[in-house]
């Protein structure tokens, strides 16, 4: 455990170059910037605005979406900026100077509704599985996976926010927030809750106690401290 902590600290230091400049790719205003091998700051070009940037814990690989089709906000009720109607997922590796590679995905049909909206991409530690979300209802998103070896896509579980664990005792599993039917004994009824889970790629879920009532990002940090490894969340909503 201590060795892993030292390794993660080392990886964190490696992310800072000799001039104190952070080298991890970052997202702002729909543009992803990174420090190229030449030392120059560059932008990733995919011809569209980008969003949902995920950077692997060791910062060697990133995944993000491009907004292929979107509607501008129309106040007072339509406020998403923009409302994403179609998106695509890209993966890029530091070893290739973050050259973006588009992942071919077919439209997803869930409950009879077709969607071309893919959100929150990330990769398994062995880089063989792409995870992503599909906003299939207005109260819950669906976590999906796609094999980067054979293209097989499958549904895992409902999940509104999630991350893939890299390293530690649960490496390759996922931490997720998922809508669930909860029973409130004092109010004698069921209501939808959004508790936290440890999930496997097959969708097997173990509910996690959140004794300190932490927000998900802090819960993930705490989990990593106790169990080792790291779990990067998408830089979300800054498209």
């Amino acid at each position: 455990m201590r060795l892993r902590a030292i390794l993660l600290a080392f990886l964190g230091l490696m992310a800072i170059n000799g001039y104190g400049q952070k080298t991890a790719p970052s997202l702002s205003g729909g543009i992803i910037r990174f420090i190229a091998k030449s030392g120059q700051e560059k932008e990733i070009q995919v011809g569209k605005a980008c969003g949902d940037l995920w950077v692997s814990p060791d910062e060697t690989v990133i995944a993000f979406i491009s907004i292929e089709k979107g509607s501008p906000p129309k106040p007072p009720y339509d406020l998403d900026n923009p409302f994403i109607e179609e998106s695509a997922i890209y993966v890029a590796k530091r070893s290739e100077d973050f050259r973006p590679v588009r992942v071919a995905l077919e439209p997803v049909i869930i409950d009879g509704r077709r969607s071309l909206v893919f959100r929150q991409p990330s990769l398994s530690p062995d880089l063989k599985i792409l995870y992503f979300s599909v906003p299939y209802t207005m109260t819950s998103w669906k976590l999906m996976s796609a094999s980067l070896q054979n293209g097989h896509v499958k549904s895992i579980s409902d999940a509104d926010d999630y991350c893939v664990i890299w390293g530690g005792t649960d490496s390759g599993d996922l931490l997720a927030v998922a809508r669930t039917n909860e029973y409130d004994p004092t109010l004698r009824g069921y209501y939808p809750g959004y508790p936290y889970f440890l999930m496997t790629n097959s969708g097997a879920k173990t509910r996690l106690e959140n004794k300190e009532d932490l927000p998900f990002d802090q819960f993930v940090d705490q989990w990593s401290r106790h169990r080792g490894g790291a779990c990067s969340l998408s830089d979300f909503g800054k498209h």
């Binding site: 406020l79 998403d80 299939y136 109260t139 009824g189 959004y194």
Partner: protein, 228 residues
């Protein structure tokens, strides 16, 4: 103390009534015994015979209800009336729906509204307020109950499928269409679920249960003059 038919039976046996002359036209829901000056309901005990049944203090309608539920109705009744009027649906539909989605404003710690302020409808779209650190990224944050209700009801930023319509269908349109066609709450919210609001096949019944709860609270509070 149990509800007892005591005072009024004595009045009837003595040829009188709590009103000083029994009137068979006295409505059932008279909330007050004028003789005793206590909360009471009028109950028929046989053909042409009725009595006032005092409601003991511990059976005051509000005291039978959870304070969380009562406070929730008191706080959001006016907004629900406004939103219901705009959307052409009963205010109890708005209030019961919000009660279900928010667990009466975040009574339990896993309710979405605990992380995303004023998101009473678990709306996975942008709200009108900036979210605080720690908010769930896929849900919006709102400045008030009213704004959450208005955006949830009238936003077209969705992928609903309803009848021949695919995408950009307001929830208000779906619910008003259901209501206008005589659907019960369970049917209307089941239709909303199937359109793509969520994936809980029992959703209509759950929301309907909460609509019943808030309706009974509204009735209680109105009988006490606390709601108009």
């Amino acid at each position: 103390m149990l509800v007892g038919i005591y005072h009024a039976i004595g009045s009837i046996l003595s040829g009188g009534s709590p009103n000083g002359g029994w009137d068979p036209n006295v409505p059932w829901d008279v909330p007050w015994d004028p003789d005793l000056g206590v909360p009471a309901v009028y109950v028929s005990v046989g053909e042409g015979v009725g009595v006032y049944v005092p409601v003991p203090e511990d059976q005051d309608c509000e005291k039978q209800l959870s304070p969380y539920e009562v406070d929730f109705v008191k706080q959001h009744y006016d907004d629900s009336v406004s939103l219901g009027s705009l959307a052409n649906i009963p205010d109890t539909w708005v209030l019961g729906w919000a009660a279900e989605e928010s667990d009466y404003g975040g009574h339990s710690k896993t309710a979405a509204i605990r992380r995303n302020p004023n998101n009473y409808f678990s709306w996975h779209g942008a709200g009108d307020a900036k979210c605080p650190p720690g908010a769930n990224h896929s849900l919006g944050c709102f400045s008030s109950f009213y704004s959450a209700g208005a955006i949830t009801l009238f936003s077209t930023f969705d992928n609903f499928h309803y009848g021949d319509l695919t995408a950009h269908v307001q929830t208000a349109f779906i619910l008003a269409d259901q209501f206008g066609n005589g659907a019960l709450p369970a049917q209307a919210f089941s239709a909303l679920e199937q359109a793509g609001y969520n994936s809980d096949s029992n959703y209509g019944n759950k929301v309907s249960d909460h609509i019943d709860v808030v309706a009974s609270i509204e009735k209680c509070l109105k009988s006490k003059g606390e709601l108009k």
